[in-house]
């Protein structure tokens, strides 16, 4: 099922972190990710760690929230025993799978457990992913009342044949409706789109962009479809049912998205993510930018970027709850066992569900830092680059891959061409 876990060191059953973890938290914000590993149907392109009812080997969805709550308690205990200073939670993110397959009461139960364990900071961002066909007005109102601030809808496309290829079951007409429900409930709204689906034309993509923009979401993510090994889609492409993805068409689609979104006053802040521009001049600006300027306290009218995702990219700390979830605390990364049945066994026995972990060395940490921050608009200060990487800056400007003004002002900002060639830029900077 889905992508394989990384190879790492064994993780201890008591979950205790190495001493370095406590030393390296640097007072970064702390987030919690809660994975809900269930879907009604598995989409052909998806390699995430999720299961349909037939794949669950006797595990019951209804028992899951209780198990996640046990891990939350274990997490609080492990952090304390490992000497990691206590921090209230700045961001919470429910992802999947399909979190909204669970009743709202169970999502709320898990959120309460997080609050009980660490406390949720004032102004915290609390997001859930949602499928347009698994929520209604009441459901969203319940979440908002319980402290959720944001919902991210898996819209993917507005075009029926594209949705069909992706195995998405929702009716595209349903999306504007649920977006309205969410807004009425006082939630920020993000929509996810996928481009580059086999058979999708540039015109199809334009239609999806237009439909998404007509809903005036606060935030929009546009991901190129990645054909992951082991998925049904990969098999279909191998056997010739669908053509290979066309990088040039995908580049056209990205450029179109950027043009449309910019015109509608959305600003890119990460290679695949755009947020609605604040009504006034942007706070901060180029010169003041730096890693931490991006995740200051949210002011609901001026900040629509996903602070939880930014925390991943900026190397902050988060605990991932649930099967297959990844965590990072003070330089140590770990990942939980993948199958919900194995996960249930571990947490019910009072053991850490971690399957493996690693504490990357300085060189690897620097690579991670550059590869993540370079993708964020002005996320990577030039001054923090190693001497060899700084030598590359001038040629990156000359090749039209990074913005010269921003570089002179002190940070790396990919140009439109640079965003499409971001991996090449990162290879030159690492």
């Amino acid at each position: 099922m889905g992508s394989a876990l990384p190879l790492g060191d064994p993780a201890p059953l008591d979950g205790l972190l190495p001493p370095s973890a406590a030393e390296r938290t640097h007072g970064h914000p702390f987030g919690v990710y809660l994975h809900v590993p269930f879907c009604r149907v598995r989409c052909g392109y998806c390699d995430f760690n999720t299961y349909t009812s037939s794949e669950l080997r006797g595990v019951k969805q209804v028992d899951y929230a209780g198990q996640a709550v046990i891990e939350v308690g274990l997490a609080a205990d492990v952090l304390e025993r490992s000497g990691v200073p206590h921090r209230p939670v700045s961001t919470v993110f429910f992802g999947g799978g399909t979190p909204t397959l669970l009743p709202s009461s169970q999502l709320i139960q898990m959120l309460r457990a997080v609050d009980d364990a660490w406390g949720i900071a004032p102004g915290a961002e609390v997001t859930t992913e949602a499928n347009p066909d698994s929520v209604d007005a009441q459901y969203l109102a319940d979440l908002a009342a319980a402290g959720f601030t944001r919902v991210s809808f898996g819209m993917q496309s507005a075009v029926p044949h594209v949705l069909q290829t992706l195995d998405r079951t929702h009716d595209p007409e349903r999306v504007p409706e649920v977006v309205r429900f969410a807004r009425d409930a006082g939630l920020q709204v993000s929509v996810d789109l996928i481009y580059g689906t086999p058979g999708e034309s540039l015109g199809d993509w334009e239609r999806s962009l237009d439909s998404a923009l007509a809903m005036e979401p606060d935030h929009l993510s546009a991901y190129a479809l990645i054909v992951e090994q082991g998925t049904k889609l990969a098999r279909q492409i191998r056997s010739g049912v669908y053509p290979e993805p066309d990088d040039d068409l995908e580049a056209d689609m990205y450029e179109l998205a950027d043009a449309r979104l910019s015109a509608a006053r959305y600003e890119w802040y990460e290679v695949s993510n755009w947020a609605r521009a604040a009504s006034g001049p942007r706070a901060g600006g180029a010169a003041a930018s730096g890693a931490d300027a991006l995740t200051g306290p949210a002011t609901p009218t001026s900040e629509f970027r996903s602070r939880h995702n930014l925390a991943y990219w900026q190397g902050h700390d988060w605990w991932g709850i649930g099967p297959g979830a990844h965590s990072h605390i003070g330089g140590t990364r770990w990942w939980n066992v993948k199958h919900p049945a194995a996960y249930a066994d571990r947490v019910l026995a009072g053991h850490s569900p971690a399957a493996g972990r690693e504490t990357p060395d300085n060189e690897s940490r620097e690579i991670e830092r550059v590869l993540l921050l370079a993708r964020i608009r002005q996320g990577l200060p030039v001054a923090t680059l190693a001497p060899d990487a700084r030598q590359q800056v001038a040629s990156l400007i000359a090749d039209g891959l990074i913005n010269g003004r921003a570089a002179i002002a002190g940070s790396i900002e990919l140009t439109l061409r640079g965003r499409l060639l971001a991996d090449a830029v990162v290879r030159r900077l690492t």
Partner: protein, 616 residues
Amino acid sequence: MSPRAVQALQPASTDPALIRNFCIIAHIDHGKSTLADRMLQITGVVSDRDMRAQYLDRMDIERERGITIKSQAVRMPWQQNGTTYALNMIDTPGHVDFTYEVSRSLAACEGAILLVDAAQGIEAQTLANLYLALDNDLTIIPVLNKIDLPAADPDKYAEELAGLIGGRAEDVLRVSGKTGMGVEELLDLVVASIPAPTGDIDAAPRAMIFDSVYDAYRGVITYVRMIDGKLTPREKIMMMSTKSTHEVLEIGVSSPEPTPSKGLAVGEVGYLITGVKDVRLSKVGDTVTTFQKPATVPLKGYSEPKPMVFSGLYPIDGSDYPILREALDKLKLSDAALVYEPETSVALGFGFRCGFLGLLHLEIITERLEREFNLDLIATAPSVIYEVTTDDRKTVTVTNPSEFPGGKIKSVSEPMVKASILAPKDYVGTIMELCQGRRGSLDGMEYVGTDRVELHYHMPLGEIVFDFFDHLKSRTQGYASLDYEPIGEQEADLVKVDILLQGEAVDAFSAIVHKDKAYAYGVLMTERLKKLIPRQQFEVPIQAAIGARIIARESISAIRKDVLAKCYGGDITRKRKLLEKQKEGKKRMKMVGRVEVPQEAFIAALSGETETKKDK
């Protein structure tokens, strides 16, 4: 008749009348080594307990490929009608690349066993060696081998052999090297029909070197056939071509392990060891005499083996270059025909330009380098020697397209060969088509037996070295065999085609081709490279050019997308590992100007294995 002699004759004092010197002429796979094994066993020189398959083939590569690269000589006792004889079997290389060594081996014999597979019939290379044997006035004993095979058709091939060398089909001996059937009769026939050697025991000593091998422990071992006089241990000998002198540290016969003796006399075959470390001081074909009583006239014809085919050999891992140099130095000790000099290529780094006797020689050397020295190598397209005369009347010898002079060319001459192709008659049409496409002109055609044809062509060697044999085999389902021999040079309308990446010539792909084929070569290579080179951040033109004139052009459009849209949620580890893998891939890239070319692309383009390129 007792098959095994009770007491073998002593070297140095054997009456020439009791000596028989013979060789076995056979095609690869026709069972020569197996027959030799049986002879060793039946004459008792190798006990059943010590017997191993292909006893005489010393190199792994010889055993595996079923071919003999270096010659060997074995002395075997054999008794007939109460008289004991000494039979010297001189093993010869079977392949045409080693024609010179073959002819020296033949010159050491009075007779030859012509060994032919009873299921396959004679092959082109065997015919070539048979011509050589007849040319040396050797007595031929035709023998069909493998008659135990179900597919054997001895009647048919006995007719074929009789038709070739005269005589009657029923006189062709039938043996099985595998079971030993008929081998004793064959040994009797060797004694009965091959003439004894003649020579003057009192004349100044003359011995012909027919092989020279390097042994890591003993230095060079020189195999000789005594023509006149006698050589003894501790004697000071002289090589007639170089006048160099050496002391004989050991002299003896192979039986089949080296067995020191009191000397070698007229008609005998054996070895000498002088402590020399380099085979070039003991050359095949040279005449050995003594310092005290030197002969005045050397034996017939000594000629340096001339390399005919050239190729650049490069280590795939550049840091292996010193190992390659050492390996070539070592192989050179035992292979006087191998020549090489350092060469640098933009595409392939540091390597050596090597000269070979022919394609098989190239293949064997490459394989030995890879196997015995654990090297991964890439070989550039084989080239031949061109003589290029410029307008200002200067002549340049070109063994590498990069040496081809610029400016106006007056003429280019290329080596020609006489090629003989033997194949079942059904394939004549397709073979003629192939040969004409390779600028061959038909000299004649004759039937061998009832259903096989031998075609004679006049062809440029350059056409043969460029995958001709592969095409011949595939067009004839493997049935055709090929032999060729050089017959001088001929002027031709040849040009150098360069392949340019973003305006920079890639030396490894330059080729000297006939004018009429330049366009096809240009199109082939530009298309191949377009498929193999990944897209870059800028457009990359790929051109084929003769001098400044572009004859073919392709272009690789700039890459527009090189980014993974998603960071896989919190799984940063996976993203980092992907990047590290990408960076690892980039490290293996070679730079041609600003263009990054994966090493595999060069290798694939040179070998013609065109797969689709990897995107990242």
